[in-house]
């Protein structure tokens, strides 16, 4: 297990600049999406707060602050690769290229949504990008093994990325999956998003070791911990892990020390954690923007344009969702069986 430090981007300076802009663009798009969902989620929950009310009811787990993980990892993937995510899935869904309209429409419970409104935000299944997620902690890992297994059998170099939080690394399915993937040399990249908290339980009260990379070693695979929630560090760590998997050298694990900027879910009063103001450079988005501007990769105007473009894309998707019809209750039990 090693801890990586920010890499010098590889390749030609020009290509690098484009790649760095893309990372920023992805992060910006994710943030724009999460902010828009937050806005619309809260728009009609009152008076007071009723979780069941409004255009977007139910639990809502947003990933603002964790964009570097999704952007850094998914930059190495194509739509032929699989991603299995968690109850907090939007950032990975977007970074992996899910159609924003189908995503938004599912969150708004519309017939045009990915699952015709059946799934909701924790149950996004996209055959086009081999994306799925699960609301049950760590239980998204095992199906990723099967996707990787199928890709391997089909003689391709496609891979599967399996994501969980640090809280999930204490769930049995996490360990079973690592062992089986290592044993069968499956092309999987395991990603652990360590945002320090599992709802209100701090990492120190849930996890007996300092790094989940140490747990990779317990299953005979390389593990790395990225300490800085910087997209380029994640990108570099993922480059190795993805290359390894594609080359048939088996699975590996990346843990990223990231930060959830908002509550566990919307409505979380967060009485259990101190103000984030204490965390220096806590928001990775302006930090990265400043870096890119300082490095001459973006002008402020470029960056603003990226933000504007992201916002437009998101608003278009949300408008599409809102304009879409709700599912017909007469078909509530459709799709139980094929």
């Amino acid at each position: 297990m090693t801890t990586t430090s920010p890499p010098a981007p590889a390749g030609s300076a020009k290509a690098d600049q484009a790649a760095r802009r893309d990372l920023y663009r992805t992060m910006t798009l994710i943030r724009a999406f999460e902010e828009a969902i937050k806005r619309d989620y809260w728009a009609d929950k009152g008076p007071g707060f009723d979780i069941g009310k409004g255009l977007v009811p139910g639990e809502m787990h947003l990933a603002a602050g964790q964009e570097p993980v999704a952007a850094g990892v998914c930059a190495h993937l194509t739509a032929d690769d699989a991603v299995t995510a968690t109850h907090r899935p939007h950032h990975f869904a977007i970074a992996h290229g899910m159609d924003l309209k189908a995503l938004a429409a599912e969150i708004f419970g519309r017939e045009t949504g990915l699952g015709h409104g059946r799934g909701g935000h924790m149950h996004l299944f996209d055959p086009a990008t081999h994306f799925s997620c699960s609301g049950i902690i760590a239980e998204g890992y095992p199906p990723a093994l099967g996707q990787a297994f199928a890709f391997q059998r089909q003689g391709t170099d496609r891979i599967a990325v399996a994501v969980t939080g640090e809280g999930a690394a204490n769930q049995g399915a996490f360990h079973e999956s690592l062992n089986l993937a290592a044993l069968w040399h499956l092309p999987v990249v395991f990603v652990v998003e360590d945002n320090d908290w599992g709802i209100s339980v701090p990492r120190s009260a849930s996890t007996s070791v300092a790094s989940n990379a140490a747990r990779a070693a317990a299953h005979g695979m390389p593990g790395v911990r990225v300490e800085d929630n910087a997209v380029e560090t994640v990108h570099a760590a993922a480059a190795e892990a993805v290359a390894r998997a594609r080359a048939g050298q088996g699975p590996s694990l990346i843990e990223v020390h990231t930060l959830r900027l908002w509550g566990h879910f919307e409505g979380d009063a967060e009485g259990y954690r101190p103000e984030l103001d204490q965390v220096p450079g806590r928001d990775p988005l302006p930090t990265y923007r400043a870096t890119l501007v300082a490095d001459g990769v973006l002008t402020d105007a470029d960056a603003d344009a990226i933000t504007a473009e992201a916002s437009a894309q998101v608003e278009e998707a949300i408008a599409f969702a809102k304009d879409s019809p709700l599912p017909d209750p007469a078909h509530a039990s459709a799709y139980v069986f094929a």
């Binding site: 979780i51 069941g52 239980e139 599992g198 209100s200 209750p329």
Partner: protein
């Protein structure tokens, strides 16, 4: 209109509590009385339980008796079992019943069977609390009732309070019971500030300890025309419907089962004997569960008791859909209950 044990007028020593607060109150009573009682689970400490089941407990009893756990349900439920075997009285929270799939082995092959396998030599006096139910768009993995599943597997009692008084009294009974008791609380009856509330989710609750006997159904409303056998949040829907139908000359009896194991078969038979008509309302999946068991209870006693075919109102064997209009028809809400009552009465 509420349970028989509830005093008609509030006792002098009582407070108006939500179901959640009444549940926590019952736990606190027992924790004060018996140092062997502890509470453990995810987010039960500083957070006070995602659905308010432990509000205030950490403050009063501290982190040695109210313990936040890792997300390791098999390990910490098993820990509860071992502690119970050695004389403690653990209450262990499984945050949502939907998560049973990651830890059912500890529950049904261990917690529930040790007493039997030991020939009665080892007791497992623990309470497994867990939140159930839908209605707020939490979709297929966070909205299930699943009490039929727990009740099917022998060796554990299964209680399902519908109101503050029962929530407290059944909790105290559960803690004092020498058997494992699964205590399933519907989010919709908890009276949470952040969820739609039925007015019955708050009520006057006596201070101090009292018990509600596990295994005795309550007649939530007396009636002569039709028996509605139900439990948990559906009790409220059934009572709402009953009140609406009363002026129309339809007099509905509502039986609140309060526990699945033991199942109060006498209460079911007694009521149906009087009304001759049976509707079962169950938010769990329709087939192979509670609703069939209730109907079969009558039929294996005497099918002649029924003057019309029994009607079941339940989830039509469908994962709970996210989208509101879909979820609303899958749940056994007031409209479906009313239609069932009219149907069984030949309307």
């Amino acid at each position: 209109m509420t349970v028989t044990e509830t005093p008609a007028t509030p006792a002098p020593q009582s407070h108006r509590l939500t179901t959640a607060k009444a549940m926590a109150d019952g736990i606190a009573e027992e924790m004060r009385r018996d140092p062997a009682v502890i509470y453990l689970g995810e987010d039960v400490g500083a957070y006070g339980g995602i659905f308010g089941s432990t509000t205030g407990l950490l403050d009063e009893f501290g982190p040695t008796r109210v313990l936040d756990t890792p997300i390791s349900e098999s390990a910490f439920i098993g820990l509860g079992i071992g502690a119970a075997v050695e004389g403690m009285r653990p209450i262990v929270e499984l945050m949502f019943a939907d998560f049973m799939g990651v830890c059912l082995d500890q529950i049904y092959n261990h917690m529930a069977k040790i007493h039997f396998e030991s020939g009665g030599n080892v007791k497992v006096p623990m309470v497994l609390t867990t939140a159930v139910g839908g209605g707020y768009s939490d979709a297929a993995q966070h909205s299930q009732c699943l009490w039929g599943t727990f009740a099917h597997l022998p060796g554990m009692k299964v209680v399902v309070p519908s109101n503050p008084y029962d929530a407290k009294g059944l909790m105290i009974s559960a803690i004092r019971d020498d058997n494992p008791v699964v205590y399933m609380f519907h989010k919709g009856v908890m009276g949470l500030a952040w969820m739609a509330k039925n007015p019955r989710a708050s009520a006057d609750v006596p201070d101090g300890a009292y018990t509600v006997e596990i295994g005795k159904a309550a007649t939530a409303r007396k009636g002569t025309d039709v028996t509605v056998v139900t439990l948990s949040l559906s009790v409220h829907h059934a009572l709402d419907v009953a009140e609406r139908l009363a002026p129309q000359g339809i007099d509905v009896e509502v039986i609140d089962l309060r526990s699945l194991v033991p199942l109060d078969r006498e209460a079911i038979l007694g009521s149906v004997a009087r009304t001759g008509h049976l509707v079962v309302v169950d938010e769990d999946y329709l087939s192979f569960g509670l609703s069939g068991e209730v109907v079969a209870t009558v039929t294996e006693h005497d099918p002649g008791m029924l003057r019309a075919a029994a009607v079941r109102v339940a989830n039509p064997d469908t994962p709970v859909p996210y989208s509101r209009p879909l979820e609303q028809v899958v749940l056994p809400g007031p409209a479906r209950i009313e239609a069932a009552i009219r149907k069984v009465l030949g309307g």
